[in-house]
Each structure stands twice: as C-alpha cells, then as structure tokens.
Symmetry: C2
Subunit: 365 residues, 2 copies
C-alpha cells in the first residue's frame, strides 16, 4: 500500500528532536558519501492564472535525492504560481494559492530503493518549514557558542516561527528579540511563541535592534534585499540566513567578517541546480553566489555536513564569528524527514493507504 | 478532482495520429520558444533489492517541462532497480520489476500552469513507448525521402513494436525487415505485426541484412554497443536511433556519413541533464556525445524542432543521407502526450478521480 498523509498528520508525527536527529544522520551520510544530497531542476513560464498582481509566473520545481542508509529516495515537487507584491515598500516573492479551495501544490514522493515502489505521497508544507528551521538549528548546534543564550530574529512569519522552536531545541535560549516589518504581526508572534515556549520574546522596531548584543542572529525572511549588515556583526556572534532570493539576506561584507562560514555545497553553490526560464523575465532571478567576486572565499568553505561529521573544523574560540548560509537546502532533507514521517505513521497507523498498484505499472518503462 | 489512469486506459485513449499531432505541436512550440523542452536530474545509488544478477543499482530519475500553449507542466518520474544481465553475449540494461505484484515504478504527474494543481497522475509505460516511436516517426516524416517504402528494423522488443505502428503512420511502407538476436522473438514479432498492420514483415538473420537496400534504417534496441555501421549506409537512406546507452546504436562514422543530422538539443547533448552517481560504478555510464571528438559536427546540427517548424533545412535531394538521433528525448513529450491523454479521458469519462485536496495543501510551502 502507498501511504497518503496530510500536513495536519505530519505535524503530529514529526517532532523537532526527531527531525534534528534524522537530519543530523542524513548530513553525516552526505559527508561520508552514503547519500546523494540532491539534484534540482526548475522550469518557469507564463501563467494565465488569475492573481491580483501584474507580475505572475508559473514555476515547476523538482528536487531529488537518495539516502542509502535509509534505503529511500525522495522527490519534492512544487507547482507554484509566483507573484511579486510590494509589502511595506519591499518586493516579496509569494506563492498564490490558486489550486481548488485556495490551496498550494507541493508534494513529497518517497520511494523504496529496494523495490522502487512509492512508499508514501504527502504535502511538503510542514516538512519544508521543519527542514529549513531544523537545519538552521543544526548550524547553531555545531557552530554557535556553547553558552549562547540570546537570539535576534529578523522575520516574523511561518519560517521564523519554526526557527524559534528549532533554536530552543539546541541551545538554552533565555530571550529572543524579534523584528518583522508589520508591528501587529511581530507583537502577535511574540505573544504566541512566548506562550508556547516559555522563553522571553520581545518585539522590536528594527532589524538592527533585534540582533544588537545577541549571541545568535537569525534571518528568516522572504525579503529580496539584504536585511543584516556588516556593522551589526559582533565578536562571538553566529549569523545565519535561510535564503538568497535576489540577494542574500546577509550582505556579502557581513559574511566575510565570519571566521568560519559553512555552506550546503562547496564550490558552485548552484551545483545540480538548473533553472530554465526561456523567454521569461523573472523579477528576482538571483545571481548565483559564485557570481559575486567578494564571495569567492565562500567557495572554499566547509559544508555543514563536513562540520557535523567532524571532517572540518567549526569555531575554535568564543570570540570568533561563525556563519551558516542555509540556502536552497538539500533534497536529502526530504528523504530523511520523509523517512521519519513514514516510519512514525506506519507505527502509529496514521494516514490513508491506497493500493500501490495505482502508482506502479505492468509495462516496462 | 485529480485523475488517475492506468496503462490499459491510456492505450485506448492515445492513438498514434493524435500522438503525432500533439508532439508535432509541442516541437513547433519548442522551436518558437513557447515551451521549455525539459530539465532532467537523476540520482543513482546502491540497492538491497533482490535481483538475479550481480550488478544492480537504484536510479531515481525525474524529467520536467512546461508547455505554455497547452497550459500544463509535467514531471516524469522513474524509480528503477537497474540490472545488467548478459543476453546472447551482449550486456543489456534492464529494469527489474521489484515493486509489489512484480511491477515497475514510472509515473507522469500533470499540472495546470494556471492553478498549479495536479490534474492527473498516471503510469509512464504507454506514453514512454509512444513518445519515443512517435518522435522517431516525426523524424521520418520530416527527413526521410517522400517515396520511402522499405524499412530495416534492428530490434524486436516493445520499442520496435511501437516503431512499426508509428512509421506506418507517416510513410506508405510496403515492407519491414526485422532483426532481433532471438530467432523465436523476431519470428513472433513479424507474425504479430504483419497481422496487425497488413504490411509485409520479414524476420532476418542479421542486423546488416535488415537494413541492406532499405530506405529507412531504424535502430530500436537496448544494446550497449553500436548495431548499425558506416559501410551499411546507402545513398538516400534515413537512419535513426533511439538511444546511446554506453555508446550510440549508430557508430559515429555512420552518423558522419549523413548530409543532415538532427538532434533533440544542439550543443551539449546532455544540457539540462544531471546524473549523480556518488561512489557508485555504473556498468554502462555512457560518455556524453560531446566527449566524442568525431561527433563535434553534430554539435552544430539543427534540432528536430527547428526542422519541424521550418526554421532549419531538412534533406534537399533523394540522394542525401539523413539521420535523426532520438536520444534521451524531451520532457515536453510527456507534457504534450499527457495533455492529450487527460483531455481525451475527461471527454470520455475514463479513469478514477481522487479529491485534489489529497495532493495539495493549506500550508504555503
């Protein structure tokens, strides 16, 4: 049988400690050559979807990977209507929920490496949020000061929410300062998360105020321009960023202030990454980091996988600045978390089973 | 609702003339920049699947594309256990059907470019056979002599079968000579296809005998070494090949004898094609054609799309030799044929509908 799961079920099945453990194992596997971290290919074209912004494009994304020790392969698929509304003076990429019942289309397909069969099909939403935040947290676990207690958080959306939970799972955090562009949102965010975690959460009026004097500075936004700057980087700080739409959330000069920078894949950061946008102008088609001459140093950086596996050094003193660029991610994150979700679901009898014959065939392809 | 279809249903829904028309349109779109022909990325690793050969690997393949004029995107996924048994002295790559009930795992997911939603999910088997043969036939339609009447067919398997039907749809074929390594198979093949098409089908004892004196020479095998050689190429002939596992089915010197060679994608024939095989030795990991110095000329070849769209010349006389290298294919073939299948199924009320909510989500991914 092939298991179908919903985000609601996945939310209950996947705890942060389990996610961290699964990812930690997957990253060790990547460093030791037991996993193919991921291949990715996107197609972009015109859409006739009805959106309320002038700029809209269709993007079909796919990311694949295999994890030998888990004996699974996974493909994550996104079929998105992209729009670029301007909010608070900043252009942000958003995905319009134009599928029936105002929904988005993001799927993970999990396959057995031993039989080829599709073990499970489920939405990517919760896993997407979890894998990004949990990976940021692994960066913190292996790179931030052991005694880090204060966190500056730039961003007050869904990703920021997961980052609070994930960060609290790897360090004994005493307080968060949180900045998001909309006051009502950051206030509500802090109230909710303080209630949930018991950790002091303070909304602040600027990104600078959020990170000033903190041990860990996290960027978890969907801004298209840098939100963290070199003058804000203090000795001993760990800085981290989840994306580089348009430009990195951390300005290049700030990245270069770090003593240790970790990346997902060394060398060409777009390795294994194809985007075809024939005849289409993407408003925020970001340059590869390899194209920024000031970031050539990053090309020699260790990977997070190497640091986790102990194959590359992390910080060597409390005064050093460390930086993890949690960009784009690796397909193996979906294999690892998908495997954890699948195993928990089977154990607990959660989800709907469909005949596997519906998704296999008796004709040799 | 999201439509699920079986190969049996697709076989009835997709006729060869419709397939040819759909592909012809898609190729024109590709030439005119209205489609993204395809991106592809594969991951290969060890399998613990139980096969009866020593060499076995797991391969997770994905190929994506969008076709704006059809307003759909498509992803084809293969989750294969590859083995390399030796048959009649030749090593052949085969896919072991290890999914439950001895089945293979190959899927096409069709998405709306206007809403993002998954319109349909179906197996790739029939479409795979059809798209390869129909594309070979489009090459014949646009490149072979108008008066071509005799065909030499090297191969007597599933692909060869589809090639008989497809070729007969674009030329007034009087006779086929067919070679396959196993006498019983080629005899049965000819008997079956002659009954089905009414065209004279003659089994012969060698590949050379099959193509000697014919107007069109088709290679439709899964051999790992060339099966068609330069000395066999005669003036006026159209030669064509469906694959380059290990090496091209047509030896490079034979390709160079052609006055016009058409390819799927000019330049690097592996453009948009990633295979990651970290730490794994693939018995037949083929070199890219770009690696063969004798084939540099091919890099300047027109694409089949350009020839179909009238943007590049085909043969200019009956004496010329033409060649179409139908390698690897384009993802847009699945978008085009998938769209045709989906529309026919909706019209005829065929297939099983599942709630689209099962494959979409209310969390922004």
């Amino acid at each position: 049988m092939t298991l179908l799961l919903s985000n609601e079920e996945i939310e209950d099945l996947l705890t942060m400690p389990e996610s961290l453990a699964a990812l930690e194992l997957a990253y060790k596997d990547v460093a030791e050559g037991k996993a193919i971290p991921g291949t990715r290919a996107d197609s972009v074209g015109q859409t006739k979807g009805e959106t309320d912004t002038d700029e809209a494009l269709y993007q079909l994304k796919m990311m694949g990977s295999i994890a030998e020790s888990l004996e699974v392969g996974a493909i994550r698929i996104n079929s998105d209507i992209l729009t670029w509304p301007t909010k608070s003076g900043t252009k942000r990429r958003t995905k319009a929920p134009l599928a029936p019942n105002n929904r988005w289309t993001g799927l993970v397909l999990l396959f057995s490496m031993n039989t080829g069969e599709p073990l499970a099909i489920f939405p990517d939403g919760i896993i997407q949020l979890t894998r990004v935040a949990a990976t940021t947290a692994l960066g913190i676990k292996y790179m931030a000061r052991e005694n880090a207690k204060t966190v500056g958080l730039i961003g007050a959306g869904e990703q920021a929410r997961s980052h609070v939970i994930a960060t609290a799972a790897v360090r004994d955090v005493e307080s968060f300062k949180v900045y998001g562009p909309t006051k009502a949102n950051r206030d509500a965010f802090c109230q909710e998360l303080q209630g949930k975690t018991g950790i002091q959460m303070t909304p602040v009026d600027s990104a600078h105020e959020a990170v000033e004097g903190t041990d860990i500075a996290i960027c978890a936004t969907n801004a298209l321009d840098p939100v963290l700057f070199q003058d804000w980087v203090e000795p001993g700080m760990h800085i981290t960023s989840i994306q580089d739409k348009g430009a990195s959330e951390i300005e290049p000069e700030a990245i270069l202030k770090a003593d240790v920078v970790a990346v997902h894949e060394r060398g060409n950061m777009s390795h294994g990454y194809i985007t075809k946008t024939k005849g289409v102008n993407m408003p925020d088609q970001g340059e590869d980091l390899t194209m920024m001459p000031e970031l050539e140093a990053v090309m020699k950086s260790p990977t997070l996988a190497e640091i986790i596996a102990g194959l590359a050094p992390s910080r060597t003193s409390d005064d050093q600045v460390t930086c993890f660029l949690n960009y784009r991610g690796l397909g193996v994150q979906f294999a690892a978390l998908g495997h954890a979700v699948y195993n928990n679901a089977k154990k607990q009898g959660v989800g709907n089973e469909l005949p596997t014959d519906w998704f296999t065939e008796n004709v040799c392809p």
